[in-house]
Subunit: 664 residues, 2 copies
């Protein structure tokens, strides 16, 4: 009596990738519903099972679908937008402005469909994503029929889909609740990276991941400068500092891990965190070569990812597997390192394990979901075949296999591609819609080409600061009042300095209303002598404002650079439509007020000559609740100063002089 | 009046790769006979030219055919034979024995056809080869319709197609004379590498290349140990030593150049030598990353090669271009290094220049040969397209283009592939013939698996010595006679040592008749005390012999290894069918006789107890004429010893005892 099944893939070489690495020549895989029912020799299988759909896989390999453990899939829509650039120019000059302008639910939906189509064509059935509007991405992934772990990005900065961290986390919780029971989707949280989060945001993301028992996706130690910054700011390397935040109490999948040492590997191992190795993107952005042989020797689970198509520039796991195997050899000086079978394991079973999907996918075993790909084995570029060493099959797949060899793909029992034809997606329609997006993005960027930011980028290294600040500015009727604050028992003075600042503002009529400040700053000592001189350029884009009491929450987008050329140079280069000067003397105290860092500025403005003095109280903030809390403290300090009833000044000095009309 | 042409490729984006890097949207290329007649906008071209064959290239790029500047093309037939192994195990254990057994004219013919088919499918129209039987390779290349620079390999060792260097050079001269006027083939000489040649063989290869004005192909500084060996043997790094030989007086194309310093780059630049960069093979064999950014900064011409398909494992220039661009960024820590356009330039116009074919191919310009490839631009993995930066086209081709995107290929005006169908080669027949070869090679290697060499390889590091020696052995009737030689005015004693050697020979009945010697060697000082002990394993395969006068030219194949385990271990591991012992005391003098290095051994054999003493005179040699010359000198030394009339002993001590029958 024949047992009924739905699909039989027969007569191929079955590369199971199970624990024993069983290879079954002339083998078959039986699918019923969403699951693998049986795996075995074709003759045996065909005598026991019958199915509506029997696919002849003669001359082909039958493999588990590949697992792409790290990507930003909607970025297919910005593939090839800007390449061969410095990371900061690429990111600040092109990716961030484009994302700010274009990333919305439709962008994410379409970009995901395009990315899924590409991934299916290259044999991928499961991927892990970190981006925005993950609910849209989930819906598109289900439409494509793929399996995915989808991590909603959380940042300490405003994101395209969330103005603050709290909004982002709330969105993320809703997303997880909405999608947690879907058979294809693991919804989760993705704090972008330690440097783009605070310890608190990391910790709260980890709490969310633990609450719903989902893996947490993040970037770890991608660049060397990230490690340097971490040591400067926290006295610890990246992973060591992350450990302090408690983030590893969730199951962390860390992309990149290029710059981690053995101590950090042991921390990751101890917490059972997994690594998603992205060799192409690491090379392309000159980040370095991840020490994968050491990571594997420490017993960590290593998966492989393509990273986003804006930094790769495709979603081809054959290229990543091969490069992972090749790089490991030269990085370790050992040509036997990371052999082909292990590279394929990282792209299949270990990839699934890393994403907490080890019970579900990653190998061809009865009971697992039917995530399968079939690829041609007898291609010209993979001829001939030797049988002496059975493992040679892995070498053929990894060292000479290509995405274009993939013929059929099944995910969760559904056929997604048959004979290279996509079954769930309309490829020509996707190409046409993507082309329309690229036309709009082109137009936007071409218009921007004349922008101040672009010109600044072309000139110099930039340091970007996008931040929230809570601040208040008020007239200071009597200098002596400052003492009331500075000598208050709740105040500890950390540092005091005095500057003379000579600012020249360039104003432009570009669409951004950019304002570029050239500042010569002289730090003065107690003898009124110049201690230090430096010049800086600061480009400020329009600010968003929000009022708490009389204090103001500002969101700045600032790009700063050392100005090592004379003012005349910048004037000629930028050709502003208007120029204004502002000279002032600033006394600054860095203080702890009730243990929280604030800056106190007391300014005397000499050009234009403004009467009296001004006081500013300000601090950084990363979340709305924190801002509210800090605004309350600023109110208290105003009371100490006796200025609680003074009206805060909402404009900056430039606007004040403008109102005055005295300036030429 | 319309001008007649043969083929018009129309309506594609023409990527000329000419000096100005002209891009022609909706462009066309006109071919008449073997040449490009015109390149321009489609509308203009179609109003001026008519042709039988007009190919619509809408949505496609029209590019110069790619140049693969370094490969060993017949090695397609051993692709994937043995991977993820140490270089020595791979080379000595697998590649060399397989090549010794299988490389003949038919192997080279078939392997070339398979390789050409693969290269055409990935858009390559020109390649540079270094292998054996290049005349066969030339005939097969012409059958495929491709352009090639074919370098006949020259070695100081015996090669599959030449027992000695002289035979190899004679074959090479004949090959060049036969093929020098062919429109597709540049026949030339390829001294394999400095370490596998002598200064003299390098010099003579260069003379040959200059005589016929052809580029000379060789490998340069592929591995770090090659540099160490060069410094040890010549006191100079590889390129510096090559300079002394005069080889650079020919136009040298050096593959790899992984381990060259700035001084060596300047030498290469000064001689106008070119570099063929092979990134995949260098990574895969753990050789390292070539300093290509420095090489380019020195103004050298850099081409790109796939290397042979046994160490890559395919012939895909898209993978090599991408990897060249990616590796350069991380190697230099600069993501702007080696941008996409430059990578494509290296794979086209600069590749052609490196091979002295700069006037012939490498760009789409009127007057050059019609070597053209057309690839799909609107693939899913290369969507969308941005127009803001015209150079983005190079980024799309290099970072996301694939061999499978190539649709049409022309070489020398002939269509080699149309709509992915090969026009000159029968792909199914090639696949079938290659499969038959792999069956035979499999059988050969499976039989060998039980061999002593394989077992030795599995155990230990090996050092291979395959060499020619000229030697004579004779009975020494009186010890005092040795003085006649050592005190002769033509003799200078370089070193004298005394050993006690305790040898155990393992004999086997394997097809190779292998003989494995375990030697404990004690170096004695003047006080008859042991100065140094060491144990070595030496595997000797059957020797070829050739007689000059009474001296004997021996060709040894020897594999040596330190024996750091006790004799008992090796006995149990190798399970020889017979074991013999040989104990002797050996006095050895290293002498210069008329300035040439010889070894003089005076042996007393104690087990089995052989009467009297024996004298051996021996030296290394690399060529037949040199062997004859050295044999003459050995005759002179025998005269000085008064032994000219003594019959030389043609057998070694083991055979002597065997004849004696005294040994158990």
């Amino acid at each position: 009596m024949m047992e009924r099944a739905d699909i039989i893939l027969a007569a191929g070489l079955v590369v199971t990738m199970n624990q024993q690495f069983d290879l079954i020549p002339d083998g078959a895989v039986v699918v019923r519903g969403d699951a693998i029912l049986a795996v075995g020799p074709s003759a045996d299988i065909l005598s026991r099972y019958s199915a509506e759909t029997v696919i002849d896989c003669a001359g082909q390999y039958i493999l588990p679908g590949l697992v792409n453990a790290h990507t930003h899939v909607p970025m297919t829509l910005v593939r090839g937008l800007a390449d061969d650039l410095r990371l900061d120019v690429w990111l600040i000059g092109y990716m961030m402005p484009t994302e700010r302008e274009f990333v919305d639910p439709e962008f994410c939906r379409l970009g995901t469909l395009v990315g899924c189509a590409e991934m299916i064509r290259s044999g991928i059935t499961t991927f892990a994503d970190m981006y925005y509007y993950e609910a849209e991405i989930a819906a598109a992934t289900v439409q494509a029929g793929m399996r995915a772990v989808l991590g909603q990005t959380v940042l300490k900065f405003p994101a395209p889909d969330a103005e603050t961290f709290e909004i982002s986390l709330a969105y993320c919780r809703q997303f997880i609740e909405d999608w947690r029971d879907h058979h294809l989707i693991t919804p989760t949280v993705a704090p972008h990276a330690p440097y783009s989060n605070t310890d608190e945001t990391l910790r709260r993301c980890a709490e969310l991941a633990r609450e719903f028992d989902v893996p947490l996706l993040t970037h770890i130690a991608e660049t060397h400068s990230e490690v340097e910054d971490s040591i400067r700011d926290t006295d610890q390397r990246v992973v060591a500092h992350m450990d302090v935040t408690g983030v590893f109490q969730s199951h962390v999948v860390g992309a990149h891990c290029v710059h981690i040492n053995e101590h950090e590997m042991r921390i990751l191992k101890q917490w059972n965190a997994a690594v998603a190795h992205c060799p192409t993107a690491n090379l392309k952005l000159a980040s370095g070569i991840a020490p994968i042989v050491h990571v594997l020797n420490q017993g960590l689970t290593v998966a492989i990812g393509t990273d986003g198509p804006a930094s790769n520039n495709d979603l081809d796991m054959f290229e990543e597997m091969r490069l992972a195997a090749l790089l490991a050899k030269t990085a370790s000086g050992d040509p036997t390192a990371l052999p082909a079978r292990q590279a394929l394991l990282m792209a299949t079973r270990h990839g699934a394990q890393a994403l907490s999907l080890g019970e579900v996918t990653g190998s061809l075993e009865p009971g697992k979901r039917a995530d399968v790909m079939v690829m041609d084995s007898k291609t010209l570029h993979n001829t001939p075949h030797f049988m002496r060493d059975p493992d040679a099959v892995y070498s053929r797949i990894v060292y000479a296999g290509k995405a274009s060899d993939v013929r059929h793909v099944l995910c969760n029992g559904q056929i997604l591609m048959r004979d290279r034809a996509l079954q769930t997606l309309d490829e020509p329609a996707l190409l046409a819609q993507a082309a329309e997006y690229s036309r709009q993005i082109d137009e936007f960027l071409i218009q921007r080409e004349g922008s101040v930011l672009s010109k600044l980028l072309a000139l110099t290294d930039l340091e970007q600061r996008e931040s929230f600040e809570v601040q208040v500015k008020a007239e200071l009727p009597d200098e002596a009042l400052v003492k009331l604050l500075l000598e208050h028992p709740d105040v500890e003075i950390l540092r005091r300095v005095r500057y003379r600042q000579y600012d020249t503002y360039f104003l432009f009529d570009d669409p951004d209303n950019s304002r570029l400040r050239f500042r010569e700053e002289y730090r003065m000592n107690a003898q009124d002598q110049v201690e230090l001189v430096r010049s800086r350029l600061t480009l400020t884009l329009p600010t968003k404002e929000r009022q708490f009491h009389s204090t103001i929450l500002l969101s700045h987008s600032r790009f700063m650079a050392d100005a090592n050329r004379p003012l005349r140079f910048y004037r000629e280069y930028f050709q502003p439509i208007e120029e204004r000067e502002l000279h002032k003397e600033r006394r600054r105290w860095n203080i702890h007020y009730q243990g929280v860092l604030f800056y106190v500025n007391v300014d005397t403005v000499s050009k234009p000559e403004l009467p009296g003095m001004f006081i500013e109280l300000k601090t950084r903030t990363w979340s709305a609740s924190d801002a509210e809390n800090k605004s309350d403290r600023i109110q208290e300090m105003l009371s100490i100063l006796g200025l609680e009833s003074h009206r805060a000044i909402g404009t900056d000095y430039l606007e004040m002089q403008s109102a005055d009309g005295a300036q030429s």
